[in-house]
């Protein structure tokens, strides 16, 4: 099963019950607006938030749990990993605090404990423990209007397309997360364009880890060829110089 969340912004009333449930279940300390926050309401102590878009549309901001996450490929110590159910989780015992994941995430999701002397990266973990135990994430459980629901990714995608087809003219004909950057486990359908959730405006369906893969594959080849070239050049030049030095004697 690939655990997934589908949010239908036409059903969201912006009540924030999802964010409150998330804070309760994940034992997040009380938060206040900070200098380092971004405008979308996420922080190290707020892993999901409700953002108001055009026409009073409310949309959920949270980790997309990409099928091929940029953060996982970027982390030099493997502190971030994609689990068997599709949740992208973080191991603070491995982290060294380089924040490359925060730079790499195209959605700008991971947040940092800027106020802590011992800071960690914080983000939604799709309630990995609860889901693995057979439950569902606290946010979908708490939603009073069933605007955000939990399920298998394939089934939720089918449901999303069914809803779009059933109400022509209501929805934008797109399931956010279906193919974006290789697809994500957090899906959304909406009556407005949801690009305001990702200010960097990532586009296309190619997964981001592919961008560095070529350069990383070239590493052993580049190293071997540079070392071989240097050794060869040195040998040739050395030989030529030795011969030149010998010539006058002959």
């Amino acid at each position: 099963m690939n655990a997934a969340i589908l949010t239908d912004t036409t059903k969201c009333i912006g009540c924030n019950e999802c964010a409150i449930a998330c804070r309760r279940v994940n034992h997040l300390a009380p938060d206040a607006p900070r200098r380092w926050d971004r405008e979308d309401g996420l922080s190290a102590r707020n892993w999901t938030s409700v953002v108001e878009g055009p026409h009073h549309t409310y949309a959920r901001q949270q980790c997309r749990h990409c099928l091929e996450p940029a953060c996982v490929s970027a982390c030099p110590v493997g502190a971030l990993s994609r689990t068997e159910i599709g949740a992208v989780v973080y191991d603070n015992a491995r982290c060294m605090g380089c924040r490359y994941c925060m730079m790499a995430c195209p959605y700008g999701i991971p947040r940092y404990d800027w106020d802590q002397p011992v800071p960690y990266v914080r983000k939604c973990i799709l309630c990995y423990g609860r889901v693995r135990a057979g439950g569902q994430p606290s946010c979908t459980e708490a939603c009073p209007t069933k605007a955000t629901v939990f399920g298998d990714r394939g089934e939720l995608l089918a449901e999303a397309h069914r809803r779009i087809a059933a109400a022509p003219g209501v929805y934008v004909n797109k399931v956010w997360g279906e193919r974006d950057l290789g697809g994500t486990s957090v899906l959304a359908i909406s009556n407005v364009d949801l690009s305001f959730l990702a200010p960097q405006h990532p586009a296309g369906s190619a997964p981001l880890p592919e961008t560095t893969a070529l350069a990383m594959h070239a590493v052993p080849f580049a190293f071997t060829s540079v070392v071989a070239a240097m050794a060869g050049l040195n040998w040739i030049i050395h030989r030529r110089m030795t011969r030149q030095a010998e010539e006058p004697d002959e």
């Binding site: 009540c15 009380p30 971004r38 922080s43 030099p76 060294m96 190293f223």
Partner: protein, 612 residues
């Protein structure tokens, strides 16, 4: 004081200032001492210290390649200073990185936890290995002075060629991989900089920079120590112009291939930045090095090289953060504390460089201290018995003073900093105004709530209804206002004012009057407030105070009002009575929020920044 002493004094002072900031950085965390944020998690410490530092240290592998592989013997005299600069440069990168990492004590994790997909993993490993190689390459120089190390020195000199080749391989990898780091951010980095061939651009510019850095450094130290510069040898390095022209060709060719040529003339400050950068790092130095009069004179070489060095470092800072599309509303500018740390790391590395060139055989001729008279006698203090040492090292007093005064100044400047930049803008609550109808606008932002106090009081049952809301009274007060305890807009605060109770100007209580003898003095064991204040909690109060910790004002107001409104909305069948817009008339967007009359079990409506 001569040039060297003046410079060292300044460097020691900067290092002292940085030492104070460094202490604050580790005590208070990154948020209090930097302008980094969730929008810009990387700042000047990555852009300049790490990326610029690695590039500046490129002279090491370029010069060892030129002399030991290509046998350009006339450059032999600049190899040792180049290797030393590279060694100290990488040490500075590692030290600078320790300030930037959130968990610097975990830096060794890269050795045991592997993720070979990550360019940063590769950069980290290459830097670690290359620093080892550089140590082994430079070690024979100080080892000359110690006869006991002669054997080690002989082994290292024999191993020099493999070390040099290994160093070139490692440098090629990580100089280019620093560019690969940014391949994963196509939406973040500006299109004038983002390119799939960033690694190649980084490598070529690093080769150019390595050659120019050697020139720059040789001339600068020659001026500093009034040494004869290696102008003739360095003139052969003006071949750098071909590298720079190649770089410019690749850069513009890449822009054309990606269809970004039009961005070169866009009305954007980043276009200006691009031209400044490419002009300084490639075009102008290439032209200068092509002019015979420039490349054969000391001043010309120095000017062209320093312009190029500036340009490449600017390029690294641009790619590292400056040229990222601001994906929030704020533009990142480094805090003074960040600049001081960067400057301090550079100062410390420079001091180490000066120490090593004075002490060891780095140049053909060890520099004489221009201010010292070799025939002067050792100095004694005025009374005539205490030896003050050889005059040449007398500067240490001045240096120490510079360090200490600068560190003190740093602590003084920092004192208000951590408190002010914890990130929380404390918002004291302003009291509600009015009599029959209260205007509740705790943060005075104009979006207030009209609270018909008199009407609600009548409806709930007159004077007997006070306790339905007013659940705690200050001593000698009745029905204290909400803002008296809920003093902060968002944060929970302590309703109990400990300092006032203990103060001679306040309640003048001794510790033992509240905290029992023989127990640790904590809130848990202390006498409850009701032990003295009998009428603190009015009889029949609906809201039960469980702890003397007052919730944030917004939270307190919502929890007080919303519960009743929901009950009444349900009881009277009027869902409108429990909408956000029922009370918040002015706030845009809230008025037509959805129906909240039937929330989930245990529900209620709270703003995102609140806990239950």
């Amino acid at each position: 004081m001569n040039r060297v002493h003046k410079l060292k004094f300044i460097l020691w002072a900067v290092a002292g200032l940085a030492a104070a900031v460094a202490a604050a950085r580790f005590v208070h965390g990154l948020g209090a001492t930097t302008n980094l944020s969730d929008t810009t998690p990387w700042g000047i410490w990555i852009g300049f210290d790490v990326m610029g530092g690695v590039a500046l240290a490129a002279g090491g592998f370029i010069m060892t390649a030129a002399v030991h592989i290509f046998k350009l013997e006339r450059l032999h005299e600049v190899v040792r200073p180049a290797v030393l600069t590279a060694f100290l440069g990488y040490v500075a990168v590692a030290v600078g990185l320790l300030f930037d990492l959130g968990l610097p004590w975990n830096i060794w994790h890269m050795i045991v936890f592997w993720n070979p997909h990550s360019p940063l993993f590769e950069v980290g490993w290459c830097v670690m290995l290359y620093l080892t190689v550089l140590t082994l390459e430079f070690f024979p120089v100080p080892a000359e002075e110690f006869s006991g190390l002669a054997k080690v020195r002989r082994v290292l000199i024999k191993a020099r060629l493999p070390l040099v080749i290994l160093g070139i391989g490692l440098s090629t990898l990580h100089q280019s991989s620093l560019g690969s780091l940014f391949l994963i951010m196509p939406y973040r980095l500006h299109p004038l900089w983002y390119s799939p061939i960033l690694p190649l651009l980084f490598l070529v510019s690093a080769i150019g920079l390595g050659m120019m850095m050697v020139t720059f450094e040789s001339h600068t130290t020659a001026w500093l120590y009034r040494r004869k510069p290696e102008t003739a040898a360095l003139a052969s390095l003006s071949g750098v112009r071909w590298v720079l022209l190649l770089y410019a060709a690749i850069r513009f060719g890449d822009l054309a291939a990606r269809g970004q040529v039009r961005a070169l003339a866009a009305a954007d400050w980043r276009t200006v930045l691009f031209w400044l950068e490419v002009g300084a790092m490639a075009i102008v130095p290439a032209l200068l090095f092509s002019t015979p009069r420039v490349r054969q004179t000391r001043g010309g070489q120095w000017a062209a090289a320093s312009l190029g060095v500036f340009g490449v470092v600017l390029n690294r800072i641009d790619v590292g953060g400056l040229a990222h599309r601001a994906n929030g509303s704020r533009l990142y500018l480094p805090a003074w504390t960040e600049v001081v740390i960067s400057a301090g790391v550079v100062s410390a590395a420079t001091l180490a460089f000066l120490f090593l060139v004075e002490r060891f055989h780095v140049w053909e001729q060890r520099p004489a201290d221009p201010g010292a008279d070799p025939h002067r006698l050792p100095e004694f203090d005025k009374v005539g018995t205490t030896w003050l040492g050889v005059p040449g090292v007398a500067g240490r007093t001045v240096y120490s003073l510079g360090f200490i005064f600068a560190a003190s100044a740093g602590f003084a400047l920092l004192a208000p900093q951590p408190a002010a930049s914890r990130g929380v803008d404390l918002q004291p609550v302003h009291r509600a105004r009015g009599e029959k109808t209260l205007w509740i606008d705790g943060n005075l932002d104009g979006f207030g709530v009209e609270f018909p106090h008199e009407r609600i009081q009548k409806r709930l049952g007159g004077d007997a209804s006070c306790v339905k809301c007013h659940h705690m009274n200050l001593p000698r007060d009745r029905n204290s206002g909400c803002y008296e305890c809920h003093r902060e807009m968002y944060l929970p605060v302590d309703a109990f004012r400990h300092d006032w109770h203990a103060s001679p100007a306040g309640a003048r209580l001794a510790c033992g009057q509240c905290h029992p003898q023989g127990q640790s003095r904590s809130a848990a064991g202390a006498k409850p407030c009701s032990g003295c204040h009998k009428d603190l909690i009015p009889a029949g109060a609906t809201i039960q105070v469980k702890q003397y910790r007052a919730a944030g004002y917004v939270q307190a107001m919502h929890e007080l009002c919303i519960g009743c409104h929901q009950q009444m909305a349900a009881a009277e069948g009027k869902p409108d009575f429990a909408r956000c817009g029922t009370c918040h008339k002015e706030r845009r967007g809230i008025t037509d929020a959805g129906d909240l009359a039937a929330p989930a079990e245990g529900g209620g409506i709270l703003l995102p920044a609140m806990s239950r």
